[in-house]
């Protein structure tokens, strides 16, 4: 019974056991204290057992993590049993594929796990979008009830964010150690834990839809989320666990980047993607705590009655006034302190991928390497100072509006540096149009739409009109597609031959591109257009009188074309390519470290020590090399030189 020995199966079993334990624990305690088993009277189903449901969900995650085996080593350490670190399959003799369904410490396996999970979750979120786009295709359609619609858009939002975080994790976990010449991450066990905690997180997000759903949008603003169905608790906890993954993963990325670079690889000789991943990790490490905290506060308000955001809870008396009522705006501050920088978490790795790929296919050095690297850091840092632009009309203090408008507009400057540097990289090159390059270029065009529609939202006066309309939806989807989806697909196509040793089908790749890019333009511009014509965000239907039916129909059709094109990619990469031709070690003639070793890569990527002797993107300079390999050795890789 090989299947029963898979970590995933054992984890699900452990999760189930944990869930039942958590649920019975609360119910048993209530009964012991002489309270009725149900927490709330007058409601039936899960809502009546909300505290038990919450504790059960936490136990579910713990049970899953124990069951899957990602805590085994730590538990052994705690009682003094040494666990030697080893690469390769966990259970000797089991086939290669089982590694991907169990805890595995190799960063390459974990990267693939992240990526595949990300694509699966992307599929779920995309399917939801397709369903409610049908409802929005024509005015006054009624085939999805308002409550279900609200749950679907909320789920679409957060599930997509989860999928993007998984995709970001895939890219940084897979690529960073390879690009800096390390054999693995600094903390491989933590790395595995950070991946696996996503699974219960994503499962909770999906379960939430079926235990009453939640109608708050992905932002979960109280007081609405404090009154929403019990599904909102599973949404909070799901996000909480995915956030935990972000934090732990980013610790790993930062330490790996700082301590495990090859000899000779100074900070300014790192591939540009590593800079992007590093900047991303800084945001993830710090800001993520705040969304966890804000959701935890609503969670406790719901089950413990702690009135952080409940303005009705006035119970204290001071000199001549009543005080003690909660403030819903506090939540928005805490929430956006993460959720705005989070947007840069989503796009920075993608922009890094674009900067990484353009030089390879234009056969030219990256224009202004240091400026591009620093612009990533600048975006990350400025990103911490702009959160309140989501709150221009929220009723927050008036004097905060102008400073936050200023800081928001400042983001345009480093972003502009990136665009201009990409143009400089293309200028005078010998550009080759392979699928990854097409996706990079598509990303630039799409991200341009997203970027240029940003300043009107950052300016308070125009935002007073555009805030929470479909204009925002268009802007946001353009930045997400340009900043993440297109570059992620580019990265998939680009590193696919490296990871599998086989070449994908170029024609199907190009078909994917030519379906997706024009469709996306239509979708994005259509959303922006309807937003400027009275289409509010998050509404289940709209009146005939607004006269936007045609545009909406085009948006829906374009959405379906995008969905179809992604299916083409799945077909290409995951079905057809198993029989594809071998790719060779370096099909793109890249200078990157990872392209100098065989494909697919051996378990230990750098058995012989790479020594960096030149610049990473010196294409077109005769006689320049980036990396040389020392004699094969198993001695430990020394720490970074320089810096």
């Amino acid at each position: 019974m090989r299947i029963l020995r898979l970590g995933l199966v054992q984890g699900l079993f452990g999760g189930l056991v944990g869930w039942v334990m958590g649920f019975s624990l609360v119910v048993a305690m209530r009964l012991l204290l002489g309270l009725p088993a149900a927490w709330k009277t007058g409601v039936s189903g899960p809502a009546a057992y909300e505290p038990a449901m919450v504790v059960a969900a936490i136990f579910f995650a713990i049970g899953f993590m124990v069951g899957v085996g990602s805590m085994t080593d730590w538990l052994k350490w705690a009682v003094g049993i040494k666990t030697p670190f080893h690469h390769g399959a966990r259970i000797p003799g089991s086939p290669e594929w089982t590694r991907y369904f169990s805890v595995d410490y190799s960063h390459k396996v974990i990267g693939v796990q992240y990526g595949v999970t990300g694509i699966l979750v992307l599929g779920v979120g995309g399917t939801l979008a397709m369903l409610f786009r049908l409802q929005l295709a024509q005015p006054e359609m009624k085939f999805i009830a308002a409550d279900v619609f609200n749950t679907m858009i909320s789920a679409h939002g957060m599930i997509m964010i989860g999928s993007i975080l998984l995709g970001v994790g895939a890219m940084s976990n897979y690529l960073v150690p390879l690009m800096i010449g390390a054999n693995d991450m600094a903390f491989p066990r933590l790395n595995a834990f950070a991946y696996w905690i996503n699974v219960p997180g994503a499962l909770l997000l999906m379960i939430a839809m079926f235990i009453g759903g939640w109608n708050t949008g992905w932002t979960g603003y109280p007081p609405l989320s404090a009154q929403a169905p019990v599904g909102v608790q599973y949404f909070f906890l799901g996000v909480f666990f995915i956030g935990l993954s972000s934090i732990l993963g980013s610790v790993n990325i930062i330490v790996t980047t700082l301590t495990m670079r090859s000899p000779g690889m100074s900070l300014f000789r790192m591939p540009i993607f590593v800079w992007a991943a590093f900047a991303t990790a800084i945001i993830q490490l710090t800001a993520t705590q705040l969304i966890g905290l804000s959701f935890l506060m609503v969670l406790t308000q719901r089950i413990l009655g702690m009135g952080f955001f409940d303005p009705g809870g006035v119970v204290w008396y001071e000199v001549d006034k009543w005080v003690g009522g909660g403030n819903p705006i506090l939540f928005q501050h805490l929430f956006w302190f993460y959720s705005h920088p989070a947007v840069y978490v989503f796009i920075l790795p993608g922009l890094g991928i674009i900067s990484e790929l353009l030089p390879v296919f234009a056969r030219k050095p990256l224009f202004g390497y240091k400026w591009v690297a620093m612009s990533s850091m600048a975006i990350a840092l400025v990103g911490f100072l702009v959160w309140a632009h989501h709150m221009f009309v929220s009723g927050m203090s008036n004097f905060l509006r102008a400073p936050f408008m200023m800081s928001t507009l400042l983001v345009a400057v480093p972003t502009g540096v990136k665009f201009f540097s990409w143009l400089g990289t293309l200028w005078g090159g010998r550009i080759e149009y392979k699928t990854p390059m097409l996706f990079s270029l598509g990303a630039i065009s799409v991200f341009l739409i997203g970027g240029l529609t940003g300043p009107p939202l950052g300016t308070v006066t125009t935002d007073m009109n555009l805030h929470d309309t479909y204009y925002v939806v268009g802007h946001f989807h353009a930045t997400m597609f340009g900043g993440f989806v297109f570059p992620f697909f580019a990265a998939l196509y680009y590193w696919y031959p490296k990871a599998t040793g086989r070449m994908y089908n170029e024609a199907l790749g190009k078909l994917h591109f030519w379906l997706m890019t024009p469709a996306f333009w239509v979708m994005s511009l259509g959303q922006i257009f309807v937003g400027m014509h009275g289409m509010r965000r998050r509404i289940a239907t709209y009146e005939v009188g607004l006269d936007i039916g045609t545009a909406q129909m085009m948006v829906t059709i374009a959405g379906f074309v995008i969905f179809l094109s992604v299916l083409v990619m799945v077909l290409n990469l995951f079905v057809l390519s198993w029989r594809a031709r071998h790719a060779g070690a370096n099909p793109w003639r890249s200078r990157g470290l990872e392209w100098q070793i065989p494909s697919p890569m051996p378990e230990m990527s750098y058995a012989s020590l790479p020594v960096v002797v030149g610049e990473p993107y010196d294409y077109g300079k005769p006689g320049s090399t980036y990396v040389q390999f020392a004699a094969p050795t198993l001695a430990h890789a020394p720490l970074a030189g320089g810096d």
Partner: protein
Amino acid sequence: MSAIADSYQDLTRRNRMGMWLFFLSEAFLFGGLLVARFFLWGNTRPSMEPTMIGPLAVSYQIIPLLITVVLLLSSFSMNRAETAIAHDDRPTFLRFTLLTALLGTLFLLGVLVFEWGWRMEEGNFVLGRHISPTDGVYGAVIYGMTGMHALHVLSGVIMLLLLWNLGRKGHFSAREHWGVEATAIYWHYVDLVWVFFYPAIYLIGVGVHAAAH
């Protein structure tokens, strides 16, 4: 193929960096709670009306002060334990580790029993001697802050007990005691958080009175 043969020094350097990054991350969590406190309370705090401890009516201020002292002392004894193992003095290390865990438990009891006021009344557990979590933002923030901190103390105590057990079995030496160092800096970090929380909850601001209800 064998593992990456990194030395204990390399690993410790990474571990240490990772630990501090984790602290940085947690700082944002606790910072967020402080922000919530100042956002919701402004320059007020719940006043500490006198309470009966045994036959004495004492200002309620004394309980947080006492548990603060306990935590401070535990930090000191943690430092002792760490210094001891760094000099290969295992008996002292074990004694002070246990003492630290004891003081940590005392702190937790201080929070649970005196500060939160868990007690039995007619066979039921009752919460909240001077303030309960449902008392508007004052109750919410106090329980939120002390609760989040107590959770970290609890995990610290568990780590200390594990550490003591390992030390008893002969683990750790002057050369290799990252486990001790990690627990120690974690424990001090928890103390550090309390350095900010204690004045924020109990000292800063004008006292506000609970309304009779």
